[in-house]
């Protein structure tokens, strides 16, 4: 029972960390129709900035998170202007190749500047100790990740469903020329959404660093995982992404606890089964 509970808590926290990173990718794929395999690279950049700020400069954890998000967006915007702009209406294959290329470059450059070692992000005392929930205690960091995931999910839902920006965004996705005719500045909407997606990636990279440690190959190692999770959930659907992250996170963590020798076997088996049963993802919409 104790084991089952701790597996469940770990799975929930891991799923939420995946969700924070992947929801940005899901939005990019659905809104801007770009298969952005470099998403993990941006999460990695966020992790490096936070690690540098917290560990080397001695700044606070919260400050590190904010710095990581802003810094990553500042790095991402020129990349979007120079490179992504040109592949918006190209084939999926071109997008995959270009973004794999960006990932490779980021990995090479990161290693050149920061070296091949693992980068840690020291946790503040409040998150490092365990919290007593009454029936049992869990690590404060896990609780923080779960809460962050819930806040991100709720915040995004509110942003997209309840605000003026969300209405404009949905209009721009549904029918861009018509939205433009109605006076919606679609380029600004797209630019802001891209920045939001990258910011979330950086945030996820930092808070998820306990599960997905920050190292030069991070972007490549988890690229496939992120892409898989998004397409299992169905691009563009917040509940779908949440469901996919929780389901696949649970399968991955449980399999690692119970049958550690099998590695990712059950994870990918589940992916094949889900995609065969739901070719558009759990809650994907018809294209």
């Amino acid at each position: 029972m104790q084991t089952a509970l701790s597996i469940a808590m770990d799975a929930l926290a891991y799923g939420m960390a995946l969700f924070i990173i992947c929801i940005g990718l899901s939005l990019t794929i659905c809104l801007m129709r770009v298969v952005n395999l470099a998403h993990g690279a941006f999460a990695m950049i966020g992790g490096y900035i936070a690690s540098y700020a917290v560990r080397d400069l001695g700044l606070g954890y919260g400050f590190g998170i904010i710095l990581a998000m802003i810094g990553t967006v500042i790095i991402a915007v020129p990349v979007e202007r120079l490179l992504y702009r040109r592949i918006y209406d190209r084939s999926e294959l071109s997008q995959v190749l270009m973004t794999i290329g960006i990932t490779f470059c980021v990995i090479g450059i990161t290693n050149y500047f920061f070296g091949p070692t693992l980068k840690t992000i020291p946790l503040p005392a409040e998150l490092a100790r365990s919290v007593d929930l009454g029936f049992r205690s869990i690590a404060g960091h896990r609780l923080f990740v779960i809460a962050s995931g819930l806040v991100v999910a709720g915040g995004l839902w509110f942003l997209i469903e309840r605000t003026g920006f969300g209405i404009n965004l949905r209009a721009a996705v549904e029918n861009a020329p018509m939205a433009r005719t109605l006076g919606i500045r679609t380029e600004i909407i797209y630019g802001l959404s891209f920045a939001l997606a990258i910011g979330l990636a950086a945030f996820g990279g930092v808070v998820g660093a306990e599960f997905l440690p920050i190292e030069p190959y991070y972007a490549l190692r988890y690229m496939v995982t992120f892409l898989v999770v998004v397409s299992v959930g169905g691009a563009g659907s917040i509940p779908g992404a949440l469901a996919a992250c929780l389901l696949l996170g649970a399968i991955d963590v449980t399999a690692r606890y119970l049958v550690p020798d099998f590695g990712n076997f059950f994870f990918y088996l589940a992916v094949i089964l889900v995609v065969c049963a739901f070719p558009r993802g759990l809650m994907g919409r018809a294209q």
């Binding site: 190209r90 999926e92 190749l97 470059c105 892409l227 070719p279």
Partner: protein, 333 residues
């Protein structure tokens, strides 16, 4: 590039061009044999990867199905040949046939799964399949040797005459012969009515289905052919190196194959060969210096290709040649 011409003169011309192409491949291969006698093991690896990239071109270039899991087919061939060899079947030609058959069966399975989805989920399925096989090969260490790799193969002399020696001379020539045979068959397949239907399905699936052709069996057939070719490549690698490692069924080799194909030019069999040779030669040189510089270089090359030469090197060369021809034609008037 009208390849659907049917007048006898045109057929004669394309046949002539095919023989010229095959002769060029043979010449280039033999030149490699004479020029780099110390690197034959590496050159044999280039040959086997060339077969993998050719097989990927059949799926991506002729059917429009993107796959980041082609290593599954290559690995199936390599492991099948390796396991057969360890268990006493040592004739190299027979081993190649076993590898090709295993690859074809895996192609049938992979196609049946992948063709259920479209677009991004399809790509993800291909990744999931190769990762699943990778873990399975790792886990079933009693059969596959796990992460240590499968070793202990000793293939018999080729045709009972040529030993697989330490310098890899017979392995290289055997591989070159295989590549030429496979290439000739693929020229025939891609130009046949079946190959045309595949191209049509890539360009305009709606119109082809309006002609009364059901896409699934056609694409599945191409998957089987592609699997046989990739399996041949895997079996060749197994025979030449006498070791089969987990890297032969991995996401990395699949992604690299796609990069090589794009570098050379998609939908272009010569492009697949050109891309393989350039990529592997560069890797051989640059990765020896620093693997991270190699990644940066590959990344920059990929970005440049997508931006400036979306049709790959061979497509760009074609275009240049056509422009030059037109200039000369104009000048001649």
């Amino acid at each position: 590039m009208a390849s659907a011409t049917s007048t006898p003169a045109a057929v004669g011309r394309t046949l002539g061009r095919d023989f010229l192409g095959l002769a060029l491949i043979a010449l280039a291969g033999l030149a490699g044999y004479w020029l780099f006698p110390d690197n034959l093991a590496f050159l044999t690896r280039v040959l086997s990867v060339a077969l993998l990239v050719l097989s990927l071109d059949l799926i991506v270039g002729y059917c429009g199905v993107a796959s980041l899991g082609q290593g599954a087919l290559y690995g199936a061939g390599a492991y099948a040949a390796g396991i057969a060899c360890v268990h006493g079947i040592t004739d190299p030609v027979l081993l190649i046939l076993i590898g090709a058959t295993a690859g074809a069966i895996m192609g049938l399975l992979m196609g049946a799964i992948m063709l259920r989805a479209h677009g991004l989920p399809q790509l993800v399925l291909s990744i999931a399949i190769v990762q699943l096989l990778h873990e399975a090969a790792n886990k079933a260490s009693s059969i596959t040797g796990g992460s240590d790799g499968l070793s202990g193969m000793s293939p018999a002399p080729l045709f009972g005459l040529f030993e697989f020696d330490l310098w890899g001379r017979s392995a290289y020539l055997f591989g070159l012969g295989l590549l030429i045979i496979v290439f000739a068959i693929l020229r025939f397949v891609t130009r046949s009515p079946f190959g045309m239907v595949c191209r049509g399905l890539k360009e305009d699936p709606l119109r082809i289905s309006a002609l009364g052709i059901y896409a699934f069996p056609v694409l599945l057939k191409m998957f089987v052919i592609s699997g046989a070719v990739a399996g041949t490549g895997g079996a060749l690698a197994a025979i030449a190196t006498q070791v089969v490692g987990l890297d032969s069924v991995s996401f990395e080799i699949s992604a690299n194959a796609l990069v090589m194909l794009v570098l050379g030019g998609i939908g272009h069999l010569y492009g697949a060969l050109i891309g393989t040779v350039i990529f592997m030669a560069l890797e051989h040189i640059v990765a020896a210096i620093n693997p991270f510089h190699w990644m940066t270089l590959v990344g920059a090359v990929l970005i440049a290709i997508v931006l400036f030469a979306p049709r790959g090197l061979s497509g760009t060369l074609d275009e240049l040649a056509r422009l030059l021809m037109r200039e000369r034609w104009r000048a001649g008037r």
